[in-house]
């Protein structure tokens, strides 16, 4: 499954908030070609794991990305925070070009940068919106523009924190398909999400977190076992393999919850 080169390595990796470990001695390796879904209940440590791995949060243990210089790291991994922030009324094209920041030479965007921006705009279907003001777009369009920004960075690894939250069903599916396609081209994608059905369908690998620990890591079928679902999410679910691919539907709440 992991035929690509390793793009992220965490070893005995912890992030603390005060004395409390929000990520607790995690060891994880992600390689090119993988679309990794990071799942877990609220407060499981998904966001802290990704921010810590980038070196944005203070951490203990080893994180391969955090050991790089900021510029090298920015060429190795793109990060899409959950907050969709666009401070100024810039055009969509300008917004996407910001993704080229770590690649820019002294003279600003060159031909290679413009080509990367075009590829990202095209992949997200933003061609007709390129001259629109990003702050005046609908939530879904803005989310697409911000994904295009991260794509324009053209890094071996893309990490996205709940990128499909708040999108309509078509937007959610399209976004997950883009991530799966990126993995098919040899990139690695780590995406945190709460929709286990989409995770089961589009991710090649799931990493399940609970209280700061990685409690399961493997194919969606392995990770979304009734025992794991009950212990971590306190739900039971219907999980079937159909001609249309895997179908996963949570059915009810179990036990403590």
């Amino acid at each position: 499954m992991t035929e690509g080169a390793e793009v992220l390595a965490l070893r005995e990796f912890s992030v603390r908030r005060g004395d409390l470990p929000v990520v607790d001695r995690v060891t994880l390796s992600v390689a090119g070609g993988e679309c990794v879904g990071l799942i877990g209940p609220n407060g499981a440590g998904k966001t802290s794991l990704m921010r810590g791995a980038l070196g944005i949060l203070p951490h203990e243990g080893r994180a391969s990305l955090a050991e790089m210089t900021p510029r090298a790291r920015a060429r190795a991994a793109a990060w899409m925070p959950q907050a969709r922030e666009v401070a100024w009324p810039v055009t969509v094209e300008t917004l996407v070009t910001l993704g080229r920041t770590p690649h820019l030479g002294l003279r600003g965007p060159g031909a290679a940068d413009r080509a990367a921006v075009e590829r990202a705009l095209h992949r997200m279907g933003l061609g007709p919106l390129r001259d629109r003001i990003a702050t005046e777009l609908s939530g879904g369009e803005q989310a697409r523009a911000l994904i295009a920004r991260a794509l324009a960075q053209e890094t071996p690894l893309l990490m996205a924190d709940e990128p499909i939250a708040g999108l309509d069903p078509a937007g959610q599916i399209r976004t997950m398909e883009v991530f799966a396609a990126l993995a098919g081209e040899g990139h690695a994608v780590i995406v945190s999400l709460h929709d286990l059905g989409l995770a089961a369908r589009h991710c090649s690998r799931l990493v399940m977190m609970n209280r700061g620990r990685v409690v399961a890591d493997g194919t969606p079928a392995e990770v979304l076992s009734p025992a794991n679902l009950s212990a971590v999410f306190h739900v039971r679910a219907h999980h079937a393999h159909t001609a249309d691919g895997p179908v996963f539907q949570p059915l009810g709440v179990t036990g403590e919850g």
């Binding site: 944005i56 920015a74 666009v86 917004l95």
Partner: protein, 329 residues
């Protein structure tokens, strides 16, 4: 609008206002004679008027306006807030406090540079306190809060000095100084402020790319390789250098750093890196225009420059709030 056309238009406006600032004054000599006196040094008493009064006044207006516009654009970019301005982080209030103490203690009368040097010292202390309060990993919010605290404390101490002032003439001096003015300055002030303003401006202009990236928020900018701690340090030091020097030689001139970036933002595509040079030219034009207006409106009443910029700026500020309120609905 393209960068070149915008900067060209602002530069042309600035040139006209600079010449107007040189040409207008109570000496009432003809334009040709004034310019000849300035460049050739011939023409009797008008030479001294041009070289020792009007030229430093126009140069200071240009420098102070440019740096106010530039630092306003940089601060708004960093804080991602169009309501930010250089006074917000407490530098100008602290510089004013330093100057007020110099005036009150009589130090200002003792030697020419005592007042500007005391003001610069005030700005330096403000930076040290800001950095201690906001810490190495603080966010934009901690910087605003620390700035407001510094600003309020400096304002309170300034009021205390006025309150305890036993001498009404010194108190009047202080009040007039705080209103901000370019009148009766000389080349000494120009040479004093210039190195600080040049250094600070270079520091601020170097931040363009990082400020652009900050459009996407602190997390995204940091993940794109922007060193936020360094950016913030350079921003605060650069702002302190230009605003401290400006306040030291001309007193507090408000609203330029707030209004100019806001007016020019739509013409720069919202990008801080493009807004900064445009705001520098625009700020210089606004201060020169206000200084010319001060001389035209009330030539013999000594109308203060800071009063005029605030008079024009405050209604604009209200309109800004009005627009923000409507946009938020």
């Amino acid at each position: 609008m393209s960068d070149r056309r915008l900067l060209g238009a602002l530069g042309a406006l600035l040139l006209v206002l600079f010449v107007a600032s040189l040409a207008i004054g109570p000496a009432g000599e003809g334009f040709g004679a004034s310019m000849r006196a300035l460049f050739t040094g011939e023409g009797g008493p008008i030479v001294a008027v041009m070289r020792e009064i009007r030229l430093p006044r126009a140069l200071l207006g240009l420098m102070i306006g440019a740096t106010l516009g530039l630092s306003g654009a940089a601060l708004q970019g960093f804080l991602r807030n169009p309501l930010a301005e250089p006074g917000l982080i407490g530098i100008s209030g602290s510089a004013a406090l330093g100057a007020v103490i110099a005036l009150q203690t009589g130090l200002a009368a003792a030697f020419l540079l005592a007042l500007p040097l005391a003001a610069l010292a005030g700005a330096v202390i403000a930076v040290a306190v800001l950095m201690a309060l906001a810490g190495p990993r603080g966010t934009a919010l901690t910087l605003i809060l620390a700035g407001i605290a510094v600003s309020a404390f400096a304002g309170a101490l300034t009021a205390l000095v006025l309150n305890l002032s036993p001498n009404p003439y010194a108190a009047a001096d202080i009040v007039f100084w705080m209103m901000g003015s370019l009148a009766d300055r000389s080349m000494v002030q120009v040479w004093l402020a210039l190195p600080f303003m040049l250094t600070g401006s270079v520091m601020l202009l170097s931040l363009g790319r990082g400020l652009d990236a900050l459009t996407l928020g602190e997390d995204a900018a940091e993940a794109m390789g922007v060193n936020l701690a360094r950016l913030r340090l350079v921003l605060v030091l650069g702002t302190a250098a230009v605003v401290g020097a400006g306040t030291a030689v001309a007193g507090a001139i408000g609203f330029v750093g707030l209004v100019v970036p806001h007016v020019l933002r739509p013409y720069t595509g919202g990008r801080p890196s493009r807004l900064m040079p445009a705001s520098a030219l625009g700020g210089a034009a606004m201060v020169l225009a206000a200084d010319v207006a001060v001389r035209l409106i009330a030539p013999d009443r000594d109308l203060k420059l800071g009063v005029l910029t605030a008079l024009v700026g405050a209604p604009f500020f209200l309109r800004l709030i009005w627009q923000t309120r409507r946009a938020g609905r």
